[in-house]
Amino acid sequence: MAVITLPYKYLERLTRTDRRTILDKVALIGSDIERMEEDHAAVEFFPDRPDLFSPEGVARAMRGYLGIETGLPVYPVKPSGISFSIDPALEKIRPILGAAVIRGVTFDNESIQSVMALQESLHWAVGRGRSKVAIGIHDLDTVKPPFRYIASARTRKFVPLDYSEEMTMDEILVMHPKGRDYAKIVRDFPLFPLIVDAEDHVLSFPPIINGERTRVTMETRDILLDTTGTDARAVAVAVNIICTAMAEAGAKVESVTINGSETPTLAPAERTVSVKECNRLLGINLTTEEMAALLGKMRFGARPDGADRVRVQVPCYRADIMHDWDIFEDVAIAYGYDRIMAQPPATYTVGRPNLVQVFANFAREIFCGLGYLEVMPFTLTSEEIQYRKMARPEPAGTLHILHPITIDNTVVRTDLIPLLLEFLTMNKHRELPQRLFSVGDVVENCRTYQKTAAVSMHPGADFSEAYAVADALLREFTIDYSVRESSDQAFIEGRRADILVNSKKVGVFGEIHPVVIRGFDLEHPVAALELDLRAVPGYPFP
């Protein structure tokens, strides 16, 4: 999530109203106020609205929402006469380039920070950690157009930002902190992307680092923006968001020529949408004029077009408008969620429980009747608990997590008894007897099904108790079963039995082996049983 710093004074000046009015309503356009400080608020915006990742963008949206300035914001763009060429060898490496000239910026420390923050938020939300889009900002006066975006030898040297000596691009990937962070994006290419000026000075090694030469300072007045990436749409959106934010702050945007075409235009996209479809989706009843007015509040250009249609100009910075419904959501936000009549649909249906849950509840009823306490252990566990401490071999179908975070969460459980024993360990200091049961999902060979299990720990716990409880469970479930001596190492020999249905093993019960008891750091006898619920007649998936 992107948390944006909004300095009150700056925000008030841009929005042209007081901070109370703004902060009272800012959640209603889709945000959460994280905290309010002495001089600024920290507000979280959703990742689909990178245009709100700057105070300028928030002010633009709030002026519309508050009715201070509605409709499409227009950003005039003059050609700068500056051009870029793109090396065809970049096609497989990082083919897309966007650029712009932004003149007349007035930087102070705070506004440099603000642009940096916007740049970083865009790297995260649009750029997917710079792999899809990376942005560079340069002091235009330090370099000489035209510029070339080339695939360069990795041995090319230049002074990277924050350094005073030249390094090769290979060295940068190893030695520069940004190089280390983003090396994986370019590491495997034989040539590296590089932007150079007419005199072969390095502007940028995208997506890694700028050159020190073009560093932006408080004296910088004119900016050159470069944006490279792998996705043309994402690159264009990033350029548009930065250019329009800086235009909102008072700068003038100029286009550049890239491979012969002028960019950016900062022109809106056009869509024509149906009012009827919007009303039907939202459950409201707007006229074309009303809908156009609401869209104006959300900074769309909108005018009625016939009886049912509204012609919509989508601002160039709106990355999220992919579909007509995206526009309808803005209609709903402008209309106010609280004004939409909340009424359950008349759809007639009958409630139908799922048999898996019905049987699980039945197991709960039986065990509760027998005086057992339900516990709900995690489904993620470890080989240590599931198999090693149980003196059991790991079954072939055990599901392993590819990248576990901790050694306690490496597999998905196949059995419940080990987790119940672990539970007894956690409750060693509590009064005996302790009788616990659990019912829930296990996974084997990627298939999820349910098991139920119970343990009873007290000085008199024995095979007979396990058998009696298992028999009660099986009888109540009307399972026609037989038993045979088991070879399960978790139990004491001669005090363990497999539960068979149609000569297939569906469960086990008995007296837990003292080695297992000690392995779980327990001290008393434990009677235990476990049943695969697929043995229940009528179970939904046998």
Binding site: P344, T349, P353, F367, T448
Partner: protein, 479 residues
């Protein structure tokens, strides 16, 4: 006055005759130990029926040595007699009382020794010491010396003098039931009718015996069950599905772009297993690339089959809902699923790697955003939350999207869950031609509020005391 026990009654009956008596004496009458009698007497005193006085008497007992001297006289007395008017020291040394007697005589200064001759001082005697030993009394200053010499010891004897009070006397006058008390009725006593004449022991009904704990359903499961019942009552079909899901159903079918951060390894538990894609997966692929046949632009970029085939531990139960919709594309569909979902999170008091999610969907010809708000109102009201409000939000597969907040007394507005209408990019490739209202919420959040838990782990690694002490019945209010 509390009910008198049988023993108190017996004691009072004896005291009614004796008025005042020593516990020892009463013990003989009551065929009990003096200690028991004292205990009953104190109980009776608590009930105002008797008075107990604790009397401490000091006495002396003689050591073996002291007893010997009482009989034969102190060694110094005997030695003094042997000295007579004077004696030779070396002669005296053979006397059996010499060793102690000579020391004592010298210490008390009763003799004079010159050269080898011992002469008693004039007019001396050991009579007072002898008297003190024969008849020790507490005030005698010589006793201290005798105690020091180890001839006798001081003892304390405690006596209990028990007397009846006027209230006790009137109780006895009113008549006491002195029949033997019975604790547990036997089968024979019930059948024979003997119970009619038995004196059943009365209990102090305010005194709690050892606690009994019923077998019980987990408090968290009760909350899940409550939600499930509400949704069944509201006409929803319950769904159940696998924990292991193909990325295709967990992400791609829900229009999550393949490069979406939520799909990255650090947020999702990936598995090495893969599953083949469903036959018409290409419609989903086309939607991602270009928006298919809808007004959408799609995500563009690239879409790789291998990425969609990879299995994950489901990150939401929406993977179950969407498959249910794909299999049941004809309206109406009202379904819900409560199941465990997985996020690759470091576990702490407010984060778990697995937690229960509830999700509901409604698909029908004319359902709209207002209906979604209506369902949420209804559901949260039934869960006991009076105040419900909505604000804009963002979920990748719904549009419009919202977050529901409920009002909790003492806390304020709390975000409870997200909702929205499935994007057409989600529904169209699966042949679903009507709006799908969808909402989800984290069940554990309500559980934390209801159960007053500070640590989410307590739901799964529970203290048995918490499970035993959490009452089954909770008021149906929000918290």
């Amino acid at each position: 006055m509390a009910e008198l026990t049988q023993n108190e009654k017996r004691l009072l009956a004896v005291l009614a005759r004796e008025k005042t008596a020593d516990a020892l004496h009463l013990a003989a009458h009551l065929d009990a130990t003096p200690e028991a009698v004292v205990q009953w007497a104190y109980l009776a005193m608590d009930n105002d029926g008797a008075k107990v006085e604790r009397i401490v008497e000091t006495g002396f007992i003689f050591t073996d040595e002291g007893e010997k001297y009482r009989n034969e006289g102190l060694p110094e007395t005997r030695l003094l007699a042997a000295i007579g008017t004077g004696a030779i020291l070396s002669d005296l040394q053979n006397h059996d009382a010499f060793k102690i007697g000579f020391g004592q005589l010298r210490k008390k200064g009763l003799i004079v020794v010159t050269d080898n001759k011992v002469v008693p001082k004039e007019g001396v005697s050991t009579r007072e010491d002898e008297t003190a030993l024969k008849n020790p009394s507490k005030g005698d200053s010589r006793i201290k010396e005798l105690i020091k010499r180890g001839l006798l010891k001081e003892t304390e004897t405690v006596h209990y003098r028990i007397s009846i009070t006027p209230a006790g006397e009137s109780l006895v006058k009113e008549g006491l039931d002195l029949r033997e008390e019975i604790g547990t009725l036997t089968r024979d006593q019930i059948i024979s009718g003997e119970w009619k004449s038995l004196n059943l022991r009365r209990y102090d009904v305010t005194k709690l015996p050892k606690k009994a704990y019923p077998g019980s359903i987990h408090p968290y499961q009760r909350i899940i069950a409550e939600m499930r019942e509400i949704l069944l009552e509201m006409g929803f079909t319950e769904l159940y599905g696998g924990i292991v899901q193909q990325s295709f159903w967990n992400f791609d079918a829900l229009f999550q772009p393949q490069d979406h951060p939520a799909r990255e390894m650090q947020d999702t538990f990936y598995l090495k297993e893969t599953l083949p894609l469903p036959p018409d997966y290409e419609r989903v692929k086309a939607m991602h690339l270009s928006g298919g046949t809808t007004s959408s632009t799609g995500w563009g970029g690239i879409w790789r089959e291998e990425k969609a085939e990879q299995c994950v531990l489901r990150t939401h139960t929406t993977s179950i809902s969407i498959q249910h919709l794909a299999q049941n594309p004809n309206p109406p569909v009202k379904a819900f699923c409560i199941g465990r979902v997985y996020r690759r999170e470091t576990i702490d008091t407010t984060h778990l790697a697995e937690f229960e999610q509830l999700e509901g969907i409604v698909m029908d010809e004319n359902v709209n955003f207002g209906h979604l708000l209506g369902i949420l109102h209804e559901f949260y009201h039934r869960m006991g939350f009076e105040g419900v409000r909505f604000k804009p939000s963002y979920y990748p597969y719904t549009e419009p999207s919202l977050d529901a907040e409920v009002f909790v007394e003492g806390i304020g507005w709390i975000e409870m869950g997200g909702a929205g209408i499935f994007r057409e990019e989600v529904t169209a490739p699966l042949g679903i031609n009507y709006p799908v209202l969808a909402w989800g919420l984290g069940v554990s959040r309500i559980a934390m509020l209801r159960l007053g838990l500070k640590d989410l782990r307590q739901l799964h690694h529970s203290d048995i005391a918490f499970l035993r002490e959490t009452p089954a019945l909770r008021r149906t209010g929000g918290v």
